[in-house]
Structures are given as structure tokens and as C-alpha cells.
């Protein structure tokens, strides 16, 4: 495999965002994935979302497991620290990293094998702990890196490239995240950037466990007729419930939408999510309703996308543990060591 360092010449015409970075500052190494791989489109969407949101690249920590998907953090945000951990265990490493410094933005990148097969346990537990993060699952229904075996998200009856039929029931990661207590759950499609970028932006703005499942076709092993994760299949069966048009940290009055088509979800930190509703009855603040809706459409062979659930009152693990605001990694002896006098008192109590 090769890598080519990209020339970092700033083109004078490239627009800068409010923190003075151009889009190129959010790029990473040249991808080594197959041409047309859905994962690369997700990397592009992450770059776009971070640039648009004026996030300083070095204030992001990227963590991943193992797989083609988990390699991608090398291909975006080249100035951020990244950690390609072990297969299926990114959630625990991300949790520890988050505990060490609560002030960074944590992006967890994983695959369906990584999250739903070997890592199902950690996937579930990181959601229930409410770790403040954006968990991006690049879901292609196969193990790309090990060359095309079924993953646990592959649909029953779907056919592998070699013709084998999957007989095991699939794990729906969206439903699982909802059950496990994720406070932001969305599904996107790597082939629909217009929907995906705002979903990622909303996830980044969310303070709590945000999960974004992205259907991401594997052109090498899962893009053939008979696959339920091919570009064609997903385009045909995609059922978008809403479109996020923008996210603001301050409520802003706009008159772009007809009454009744726009729903606002104000978060307690001042963030306001504004959604254009595509399905009249869908309420993205109703967790039980979301579970029903997703399952109902899934049974009909439809893949529901959009913002499926957001809890406006989300809390994160640090709040549960009631930790100090200062990052742990900057605390000093003075903050941490009780000192010799306290130790003498302990000694005295042990005699």
C-alpha cells in the first residue's frame, strides 16, 4: 500500500471558515480504499461537516476499530490525533479517551463487522453509558477488509458475491442503539451527501451518545444484484423521514418553510435542530415511536433514513459521574495528591 503526502499549498481562492481553515485543512492522506467505496464518501461528508461547523481540526480525536471503514480516519482531518485500535473495541478506547479530556470532539468510526459482530457488546455499552461522541457506523453488510464474508448486519436472504445466501437474522444497529439508550440516532446513505452532511452536523452538535448509521456500499464485495446494500438497492428502498436543513446554536427566525412542514428541537444547551418533515406523522423526539417506525418499515423492506431520534435533554457520562470540568490530563499533583499529612492520618487510623 502506498501513501502520498498531499501538497498543503493554500490556494488563495479557497474560502476560509470562521476559524481560518479551508476545506483542505480538513483532509487527510490519500485514501487507499477501492474506487467507488461508500466509505470514502462518508469521509468527504465528515470533512464537509467539520469545515462548515468551524471545528478546529486539532480539537478532534478520531478513533476506530479494524476494517476498511476503520482505516478511513487516516483519510480525513490529517492534523487530528487518530487511533486505529483493535477489532470491535473502539468504543472502550473512545470512552477512556473521553474521560481523560472532555473538551475534545470524539469521532468513533467503525464498520458493521466491527460494531455488530465482534464488537456488539462494546457497541451496546458505549450507548448506555452516554459517552459524548459521534459514533459513525459505515454499514456495508460485509467484511470488506477480509474479503467479503457476511457481517451480522447482512439481511436474511441476501446473496454474497460468490452466491452464498445469508440465513442468519440481521442485527439492526439503529434499533439496537435506540434500545441501548443512545440519545441521538440517525441513518444516512453514503450516496446522499445532501442528507448526510446535515445529519453529521446535528450529531456533532449533540451532547451525548450520538449514533449515525450510514449505509455504505462495498463495491468490491457487496454491490451486486441480490445484495441489499448495493447502491441500486438502497436508492430504490430508501425512505427518508426528514431532512435537517440547518442547525443553529441560537434560535433564528427564518421564513423558508411552510407551517406544518418544519419541526424544531431545541436542546438545553441552546442548540436548535430544524427539520423539514417528509413524513407527517414522524416525531423524532419519541424514542418508542422511532423504534416502531423503523421496525415497521424494515419489515416492508424499506430502509428508513434521516434523523430518527434526538433527546433534547441528553446527559453524558461525565455528568453521570459528576466529574470536574477541567480535563483530567491537565490535572497536577496539587489537584490529585492528598499529600503527606493526609497519609499520616491514614497511617494513624491503621494502627
Amino acid at each position: 500500500m502506498t501513501y502520498i503526502a498531499k501538497p498543503r499549498l493554500h490556494h488563495p481562492t479557497l474560502p476560509e471558515n470562521r476559524v481560518g481553515f479551508t476545506r483542505r485543512d480538513y483532509e487527510g492522506k490519500i485514501s487507499t480504499l477501492c474506487a467507488g467505496c461508500g466509505h470514502d464518501s462518508i469521509s468527504a461528508a465528515i470533512i464537509e461537516a467539520c469545515w462548515e461547523m468551524d471545528i478546529e481540526p486539532h480539537r478532534v480525536a478520531k478513533l476506530s476499530g479494524i476494517g476498511c471503514s476503520s482505516k478511513t480516519p487516516d483519510y480525513f482531518l490529517g492534523n487530528s490525533h487518530g487511533f486505529n485500535t483493535v477489532h470491535g473495541r473502539m468504543p472502550s478506547v473512545l470512552t477512556g479517551a473521553n474521560l481523560a479530556n472532555r473538551t475534545l470532539l470524539y469521532l468513533g468510526v467503525s464498520g458493521d463487522g466491527d460494531s455488530a459482530s465482534i464488537g456488539l457488546g462494546q457497541f451496546a455499552h458505549v450507548m448506555r453509558r452516554g459517552v459524548n461522541m459521534v459514533y459513525i457506523l459505515e454499514n456495508n453488510g460485509v467484511y470488506g477488509l477480509t474479503k467479503g464474508q457476511f457481517s451480522a448486519t447482512a439481511d436474511q436472504g441476501s446473496k454474497s458475491k460468490r452466491g452464498a445466501v445469508n440465513t442468519d437474522a440481521p442485527i439492526d444497529t439503529v434499533s439496537l442503539a435506540l434500545i441501548m439508550g443512545a440519545t441521538f440516532v440517525a441513518r444516512g446513505f453514503s450516496g446522499d451527501k445532501r442528507q448526510l452532511v446535515p445529519l453529521l452536523r446535528a450529531a456533532i452538535a449533540h451532547k451525548g451518545a450520538a449514533f449515525v448509521d450510514v449505509i455504505s456500499p462495498c463495491v468490491a464485495f457487496n454491490n451486486h444484484p441480490g445484495s441489499t446494500r448495493s447502491y441500486d438497492y438502497v436508492r430504490e428502498h430508501n425512505e427518508a423521514v426528514n431532512r435537517i436543513d440547518f442547525i443553529e446554536t441560537r434560535p433564528e427566525v427564518t421564513a423558508d418553510y411552510e407551517e406544518g412542514h418544519v419541526v424544531e428541537i431545541p436542546h438545553h444547551d441552546g442548540t436548535l435542530l430544524r427539520l423539514r418533515k417528509l413524513h407527517g406523522e414522524y416525531d423524532p423526539t419519541d424514542r418508542i415511536g422511532a423504534m416502531n417506525y423503523v421496525q415497521h418499515h424494515q419489515a416492508r423492506g424499506e430502509i428508513v433514513t434521516g434523523l430518527l431520534y434526538a433527546d433534547p435533554h441528553a446527559e453524558d457520562l461525565h455528568e453521570h459521574l459528576y466529574t470536574v470540568d477541567a480535563p483530567f490530563n491537565g490535572l497536577t499533583e496539587e489537584d490529585l495528591c492528598p499529600g503527606a499529612a493526609a497519609l499520616e492520618a491514614i497511617n494513624a487510623s491503621l494502627r
Binding site: H58, V86, S92, G96, A100, N101, Q122, Y322, F328, L350
Partner: protein
């Protein structure tokens, strides 16, 4: 049968039923003797159950200060009918049996070579208390009162301890004192003091009485750990539980009530080590506490942390093997599993504390070492020191001590134009510089992965890059030799060709064995190894002796294997001496084994030259 007579030198064993409330009465017994200035060393022997099953508490009283398990029992306090027969068999001829004679037992249930002291404990308690729970709980205090009369234990010492225990819970104080008096009065009236006596002495000094797990947790507090991730497993759970308690006590912000520390009970050991790795990568001091089975589960991450060079502290409270059963017994059987944990060419720093004092020291020290060496560091304690209170030197802390955060490149250094190569050996000691995530807007960022990288952390599968990297890791391991706690040597009074290497909780048994051997005219130089990698002084010690016993509490002579492979030591010279039935090693065992070998050798001289 001549009754055993002994002053300040005997063993009392309590046979109880788990969950009957005996633990705190038994601890009072041990502590009251300590307060009289006489050293004691108690040991809990408990099966893997919560309630209803047998549990024992063995207290060795030793004015000379021998803290190892002695073996044999002089006085059995038999409170568990279920284990009666086995308990009786353990009593030394001429020893004593104390039991509840409320219900008469046939003579066949006794031995005629021991002295039997019966007391109607149930009857007394039933007559005094109406609440069944009180009847049960106070029975323990009543026998404590009786024993204090039989053995001459200062009643003031016990009363004082009870007062300390119930400070702030005065409602409970008086009933306990009453129960104590009840037991004493009965014994004074109806029983006579026995041949085993405690007399005031002055041999405890300023030593403290504490268990190793609490000590290790406190060491982590003093050492600056802020993240503890763990999964419950005996005998290590109380490390994390104590840490949690200390975080509440020492790390709570007075104004906001917020805490400077996070304790997460993970879903398994894979997650607990993953969290520690994540926190270490991000610059916080983090640790986990576990036992053998947990180490097995953690092993993939341990390898990643070794190659990605992430500080990790693991406290391994060793026990006997997998599943359930022997797990509540002690062993030193994870040495090899930890030394070479994980896939690929890996080796790790191990520390071997001998007692709670060193559990504190090594835990705090491990956090420094892990940061300095950017690697996993194991504190290899065991059930014997972890879960038993042990008399030891007081904890010490120098307020001028600072944390060694190791080689961390700061924003200022990056701004000054320092060349940052995450895996580059700048100083020749094999230790590279690292940056914390979020340090600098355009310098110092890197992508962390296992082995597929060059010195600048850029993806590389090139053979030479790999070799450079793993050779540097070996240099780093060399550097570790001088940084780890150095071995402690004790020379015999006379020049001797015989040496002994031991480590960890074997210490008190070894000290006592050396004294016993000396009496038999056998001189042994000893070396207590305190860490792996072994400093050169270990080779020097082996070279300076014709025969070296390696004393361990495992079946496979695991430390000896390390000595052979890592130091290229002569196998014929290193004689394994192994104790692994799950009970703590005794001085009797070591003395007998060494004496036997030394005598054998005196008959047929050790043929050193045979093995070149």
C-alpha cells in the same frame, strides 16, 4: 497429654460460617493483640461463596514478628459443625479446642490428645437476646470476650477497639460492650486460662495493619490516577472499590461536589483495559485491577499498548487459575502470562510488591514508570497480600515528589520547531516523545496504530521500518532495568555457596526460613527480586553462588523460566522450590526443602561442571 504452653507464639484458627458476622469479631481479636505490642498476621481462608459456607480466619501470634503462615493450629475455635471433623484434625497434639457445647456431642466427636473447652454460647445468647439476628451476631462478641480471658488479652484494648469501630454509631456501642462483658464473666467464672498466653510486648512499633488492595488503591490516588476501569473479579475487586471510596474522600471539589477522577465498572475486561488504553493515550493516568482470567481477556490490548506505546497500569491480584473454586486461593501463577502477554514479540515490565507497604509504593511508582516508559506496567500482587491485613511499614510520601509524566512534547516545543517523530529515538534510550491529542493546531498530530508504521508514525509495511521499531522497543526495555525497583539482597553471616531468589508475598516465609536454616547451620544469601526486566545485579547474584534456589508459589517455576530465558542462566544451577496448593507458602516448607537439598549436596557434591 501435655498441653502446649506458649507465650506470644501460637496459632489460633477460627472456623466460621460465611455471612455469620464473625469477620469483624475475628478482626477485633487480631487487632487487640496488636495493641498489646505483639505482632499478629491473620489470613482469611474463604471459598467462592457468599453465605452459608465455611470460612476460616487464621491468626498467627508471633512476638518475634514472623508474619508468614506457620502451619498447624494450637487453638481451634470451632464454630462450624459442618467442618468439625476436618477442623479437629488440624489441631496440634496438646492443642486446644474451643467450641459451643449448648448441644452435647458424643465422645467419638473429640480427640483425646487435645484439651477441650466448651462454652454454651447459643444458650447464653438465646437467654440474653430475643432477636435472632442479634443472637447470631453477638455470639461472636461473646466468644471474643471468653477468649480474651482464656488467653490473657487485655480487655481494655478490645473495649477501645470496639469504641473506635462504633464511633458515631453510639447506639451499637453499648450492646457490643455488654456482649463482650457477658463472655468475659462466663469465662472468669467457669473456665480457666489455658497454656497459650498473650503478654504485653513492644514489637509492633509504628507499623500499620492494612490489606494490600486498599494500599494499592491509595497508591493510585497518591500516584495521580484519574481513570479506573475495572470488571469485578476476586481477589482484585476491592482495589477498585477502595479507589472509588478514596476518590470520594480525597478528590471531591469542596465547592462544586464534582470529582477529579472517574471509576467505570466496565462490561468485561476487554472494555476495562480498552478504557485504560484510551485514557492513557489521551494523557490521563489510568489503571485497571484484575486477576488471571482478566489478564487473558486483556491480552490483545496489552499487545497494542506495547507497540503503540501507551502508558497503562495493571494491578494483577493473582489467584489460582480459571473458573471458580481455587480463585479464592493464592498463587503467583500469572508471572509468565503477564511478562509475555499478547501476540507478536512483546515483553512487559512487572513489579513484585512484598506487602501492602509496597503495594502502595509500586502502584504509585507504576503510574510514573508507565508514563516514563510509555508501556504497560504490571503490579503483581496476590490474594495473600491483597485480601489480608498485614503488619507493615507505614505509608510514606514526600510532598516534594512530582509525577514523572515522561517525554511529552508540548505546544511550546512544537512551536520552537522541535522535530516530532512519534516513534523516533531522540535520546538513545529507546523512549520516543509523544504529544497529547489537541496540543497544537498544525503540528504534532499523528495516527496511532500497532506496528505498521515508521518512526514518524506514517503507515509503512517496510521490513526495515518494522525492525528499527522493535529494536528500539528492546532498547527501551534495557532502559527499564535501571528505572524499576532494584532487588533487595540479604547476605548470610558467613560466606556461602547457596543463594535463594524469591519475590512478592513469599517474603515473610523466606525471612523466617533463613533464620531457621541459620540455626541448623545452613547459611543462605537471599535476593528478593522486585521487578522484571531483571537488573544486572540478578546475574551477578546467580554468578556468585554455586546453587540458587528459586522459590515460587506456582507449579511451573515461572520466574525461573524468566531467569533462564532472559539472563541465559545455567538451568542446573537454578533449583526450583515450588509451593502451589493454594495456601500461602510457609517457612516450614522452605526450610525443609532447602535443608534437604543442602544435605543431599553435602553427600554428593553438586556437579557444576557437568552442565557447561
Amino acid at each position: 497429654m501435655k498441653p502446649i504452653t506458649a507465650v506470644n507464639d501460637f496459632v489460633v484458627k477460627f472456623a466460621n460460617v460465611n455471612g455469620s458476622g464473625s469477620a469483624s469479631a475475628n478482626e477485633l481479636f487480631a487487632k487487640s493483640i496488636l495493641r498489646m505490642g505483639v505482632p499478629v498476621s491473620p489470613r482469611n481462608i474463604f471459598p467462592s461463596n457468599i453465605q452459608g459456607l465455611p470460612t476460616w480466619y487464621e491468626v498467627r501470634v508471633s512476638e518475634r514478628g514472623w508474619l508468614a503462615r506457620r502451619g498447624g493450629v494450637d487453638l481451634m475455635v470451632a464454630m462450624n459443625p459442618q467442618t468439625w471433623d476436618a477442623d479437629l484434625r488440624e489441631i496440634e497434639p496438646g492443642g486446644y479446642l474451643f467450641y459451643d457445647n449448648t448441644r452435647p456431642l458424643p465422645p467419638s466427636k473429640f480427640r483425646d490428645d487435645i484439651h477441650v473447652i466448651g462454652m454454651p454460647l447459643t444458650e447464653i445468647c438465646n437467654a440474653t437476646y430475643s432477636d435472632p439476628r442479634q443472637r447470631q451476631l453477638f455470639k461472636n462478641i461473646v466468644y471474643l470476650g471468653a477468649l480474651s480471658v482464656l488467653l490473657g488479652v487485655d480487655q481494655e484494648a478490645i473495649a477501645q477497639l470496639i469504641a473506635e469501630q462504633y464511633k458515631g454509631k453510639e447506639k451499637l456501642l453499648q450492646p457490643n460492650l455488654n456482649a463482650l462483658r457477658l463472655g468475659r464473666e462466663y469465662a472468669q467464672e467457669k473456665l480457666a486460662p489455658i497454656g497459650l498466653q498473650v503478654q504485653p510486648a513492644d514489637n509492633v512499633g509504628d507499623r500499620i495493619f492494612v490489606d494490600g488492595n486498599s494500599a494499592a488503591a491509595l497508591g493510585c490516588i497518591y500516584g495521580g490516577a484519574t481513570v479506573c476501569a475495572w470488571y469485578p473479579i476476586t481477589p482484585s475487586s476491592s482495589v477498585a472499590e477502595a479507589f472509588q471510596k478514596y476518590v470520594g474522600k480525597f478528590r471531591t471539589d469542596a465547592d462544586t461536589g464534582r470529582v477529579r477522577g472517574a471509576v467505570v465498572q466496565a462490561e468485561d475486561e476487554l472494555a476495562s483495559i480498552g478504557m485504560v488504553v484510551g485514557a492513557g493515550w489521551n494523557g490521563a493516568r489510568a489503571f485497571t485491577a484484575t486477576s488471571g482470567p482478566g489478564i487473558s481477556l486483556m491480552s490483545e490490548f496489552i499487545g497494542l499498548a506495547y507497540f503503540a506505546e501507551i502508558p497503562v497500569t495493571i494491578i494483577d491480584v493473582q489467584r489460582g487459575g480459571p473458573s471458580t473454586g481455587m480463585p479464592t486461593r493464592t498463587q503467583q501463577s500469572d508471572v509468565l502470562a503477564c511478562a509475555y502477554a499478547s501476540h507478536g514479540d512483546t515483553k512487559h515490565v512487572l513489579l513484585f510488591p512484598e506487602d501492602p507497604h509496597e503495594c502502595f509504593e509500586h502502584a504509585a511508582g507504576a503510574l510514573d514508570l508507565a508514563d516514563r516508559l510509555q508501556t504497560p506496567v504490571f503490579v503483581m500482587t496476590d490474594l495473600d497480600i491483597g485480601m489480608n491485613q498485614r503488619l507493615c511499614t507505614p505509608f510514606e510520601w514526600d510532598d516534594s515528589r512530582t509525577y514523572d509524566r515522561g517525554k511529552v512534547m508540548t505546544r511550546e516545543a512544537l512551536d520552537a520547531g522541535c522535530d516530532f517523530g512519534r516513534y523516533k529515538d531522540v535520546d538513545g534510550d529507546g523512549i520516543p516523545y509523544r504529544t497529547y491529542p489537541g496540543t497544537h493546531p498544525d503540528r504534532g498530530g499523528y495516527f496511532t496504530r500497532g506496528t505498521t508504521k515508521n518512526a514518524y508514525a506514517v503507515y509503512s509495511e517496510a521490513g526495515p521500518d518494522y525492525i528499527d521499531n522493535v529494536q528500539r522497543l528492546l532498547r527501551k526495555f534495557e532502559t527499564a532495568k535501571a528505572l524499576v525497583p532494584q532487588p533487595v539482597m540479604a547476605a548470610a553471616k558467613h560466606r556461602t555457596p547457596t543463594g535463594a531468589i524469591f519475590y512478592g508475598s513469599t517474603s515473610p516465609a523466606m525471612a523466617e526460613a533463613v533464620a531457621a536454616l541459620e540455626k541448623e547451620g545452613i547459611a543462605v544469601d537471599t535476593m528478593r527480586v522486585r521487578a522484571f526486566p531483571f537488573p544486572d545485579s540478578v546475574t551477578d547474584f546467580i554468578d556468585a553462588h554455586e546453587q540458587v534456589f528459586v522459590i515460587e508459589q506456582n507449579r511451573d517455576a515461572q520466574l525461573r523460566t524468566l531467569l533462564l530465558t532472559e539472563l541465559n542462566a545455567d538451568p542446573a544451577k537454578l533449583m526450583p522450590l515450588l509451593h502451589y496448593d493454594g495456601t500461602p507458602i510457609t517457612a516450614r516448607f522452605i526450610t525443609r526443602a532447602i535443608a534437604e537439598q543442602v544435605h543431599l549436596r553435602a553427600v554428593a557434591p553438586f556437579e557444576k561442571d557437568k552442565v557447561a
